[in-house]
């Protein structure tokens, strides 16, 4: 274990704490660390993770697999508690799933209830919160319209394609009316064409609202295409290794943006950074 800590080199892990300054932070992660007890041995997954997400910001977190992305998501979403440090949402410490945060998981088939119709799936988070039935239905209809599935209320998830099911889980998140949306590899289980459509959908939804989005991905193109900012997660234990501000404007296009020289430059920078992170982690994994 000691070895691992000493072996940790590369860019500083807390580079971003001060970096993303100006706007009011919606989400503020401060020196967060997570360790697990694994067969009597403490296993440190995350150390000193610090970053801030501002209102209306689109941030992608990329990193090699096994870097602890899912652990990070669970802490942001209030499903797990960090071992040290803190996660603040609007200045309040996150101790459980917050009301103004919605989570979209990768595996739509395991997050949409197969026995509920689309309406009831989207509506489930609205129940028991003092929202009238009429308002619930109106929100469901609006959210389904926003994701391009108007009138799908009566269908069951299995009657929809994978991409459409993921649209339903996005609709469910929107109907919940969050101020921050956490997406854990949301497009990893759909085909390339659908993926591009969903990327544009989520970008367009974010631009049209006050929503902050944190999207976890291992796809570098996707991260550059979508982000205002990219955080590279890596190391053992993992921390934020690099941060890139992506200045490609707010209107982006699958063909034009990706053909830009700047796009290619960002892409290779992020790529190198992730490669370095993987190499470092492989080295640390050696006994």
């Amino acid at each position: 274990m000691n070895n691992t800590v000493q072996g940790r080199t590369g860019p500083a892990s807390s580079v971003s704490a001060a970096a993303s300054g100006s706007a009011v932070a919606v989400l503020d992660v401060r020196r967060m660390g997570v360790s697990f007890e694994d067969g009597g041995k403490a296993k440190e997954i995350l150390r000193d993770v610090s970053f801030r997400i501002s209102a209306k910001e689109f941030v992608c977190i990329v990193g090699p697999s096994g870097a602890g992305k899912t652990t990070l998501v669970r802490c942001l979403a209030g499903l797990s508690r960090p071992t040290s440090g803190s996660v603040l949402l609007d200045g309040e410490p996150v101790v459980g799933p917050p009301a103004r945060l919605a989570l979209v998981a990768q595996d739509y088939s395991r997050s949409l209830m197969p026995w509920l119709r689309v309406r009831d799936n989207v509506r489930l988070p609205l129940r028991g919160k003092g929202i009238s039935a009429a308002e619930q239905n109106a929100r469901v209809a609006r959210a389904l319209g926003a994701v391009g599935l108007p009138g799908a209320e009566e269908l069951y998830p299995r009657q929809l394609s994978g991409g459409m099911q993921q649209r339903v889980s996005i609709a469910r998140a929107l109907a919940y009316d969050p101020e921050i949306l956490i997406m854990d590899e949301p497009f990893a289980s759909v085909d390339a064409q659908t993926r591009a459509e969903l990327e544009d959908l989520i970008m367009q939804l974010q631009r049209a609202s006050q929503l902050s989005v944190v999207l976890i991905t291992h796809d570098i193109d996707e991260s550059v295409y979508l982000s205002d900012r990219i955080l590279v997660l890596g190391g053992r234990p993992a921390g934020i290794l690099q941060e890139y501000a992506i200045d490609l404007g707010r209107t982006r296009d699958q063909l034009e943006t990706k053909a830009l020289r700047q796009f290619a430059e960002y892409r290779s920078e992020v790529f190198r950074s992730i490669q370095a992170a993987s190499a470092m982690m492989r080295k640390d994994d050696r006994p």
Partner: protein
């Protein structure tokens, strides 16, 4: 989203089978049934000696008609239905409770597993002497024996239904701050329901078999008792007629539950 108009290939379960397929099914089954009756009648004609212990189709139909107006027969149906129904209800409730208990922790399950495996492999009829010894030839004994056997498939089915419920569903609900009660109503109950349905179907068939078997061997009231009684009274057509009634009851029960399952749990079709 024009693709919305055409549900995926899995959409099939919602649509009923076309009429022609249904008709073909009826014809095939009907033809087979007639062939069996024909062969049977032919055998009786060719070897009249068989008629000592086999009734003709005519006698059988006559006996069935006789049973239909025989109050003794109907009270037998009532007694069997009562014992089987009671046994089924107790097995479902008790089995589900045991399953819930087992699902509380893997340690509970691990320690109970051997006992359950042992108990459920005892041949049901082997318990009849014990039942007779303790309770005599009563409905209570019959229900006890039924439960002693039918409860195990319920325990296992419901237990697997609970532990195989994907925790992701509950976690999703938790991330959206869906309360405990709503989680039970919208996730746990519907998620476990198909297993409950399967348990019900298995237990229902078992209870009918056990009820009749117990009645026949232990002499408690019901269709099984009537079968034995007709045999001793050498009223063979009635004996066979009663056996046929028991068989038809079992098939009808199974088919009814299956069709209810298909309608209620259409969403789970591809997972089973």
């Amino acid at each position: 989203m024009s693709a919305l108009a055409e549900p995926g290939p899995e959409g099939r379960a919602v649509r009923p089978a076309p009429l022609s397929a249904w008709l073909r099914g009826v014809l095939i089954h009907g033809a087979f049934f007639l062939a069996v009756i024909g062969t049977y009648s032919l055998a009786l004609v060719l070897d009249p000696g068989l008629r000592r212990f086999l009734p003709t189709i005519g006698e059988l139909l006559q006996a069935l008609a006789g049973l239909a107006v025989d109050p003794q027969f109907w009270s037998g149906v009532g007694a069997t239905a009562k014992a089987a129904g009671l046994g089924l209800a107790i097995s479902m409730v008790g089995g589900s409770l045991v399953a819930l208990l087992l699902a509380t922790s893997t340690r509970v399950y691990d320690s109970a597993r051997f006992l359950i495996d042992f108990l459920r492999t005892i041949p049901p009829l082997a318990l009849i002497p014990v039942g007779l010894l303790l309770l005599g030839p009563t409905t209570r004994m019959e229900v006890t024996l039924i439960v002693a056997s039918a409860v195990w498939p319920v325990v296992l089915q419901v237990y697997y239904g609970i532990v195989h419920l994907d925790p992701k569903y509950l976690e999703t609900a938790r991330s959206y701050r869906v309360g405990r009660l709503l989680q039970i109503v919208f996730i746990v109950a519907p998620g476990v329901a198909p297993s409950f349905g399967t348990a019900f179907r298995l237990a229902a068939s078992m209870t009918l078999l056990l009820a009749v078997g117990t009645e026949l061997l232990a002499g408690s009231d019901g269709l099984g008792f009537l079968i034995g009684w007709y045999q001793q009274a050498r009223r063979l057509p009635e004996m066979y007629a009663t056996i046929i009634v028991v068989g038809v009851l079992g098939i009808a029960l199974n088919a009814a539950i299956r069709s209810a399952e298909r309608r209620l749990f259409a969403w789970a079709e591809e997972t089973r």
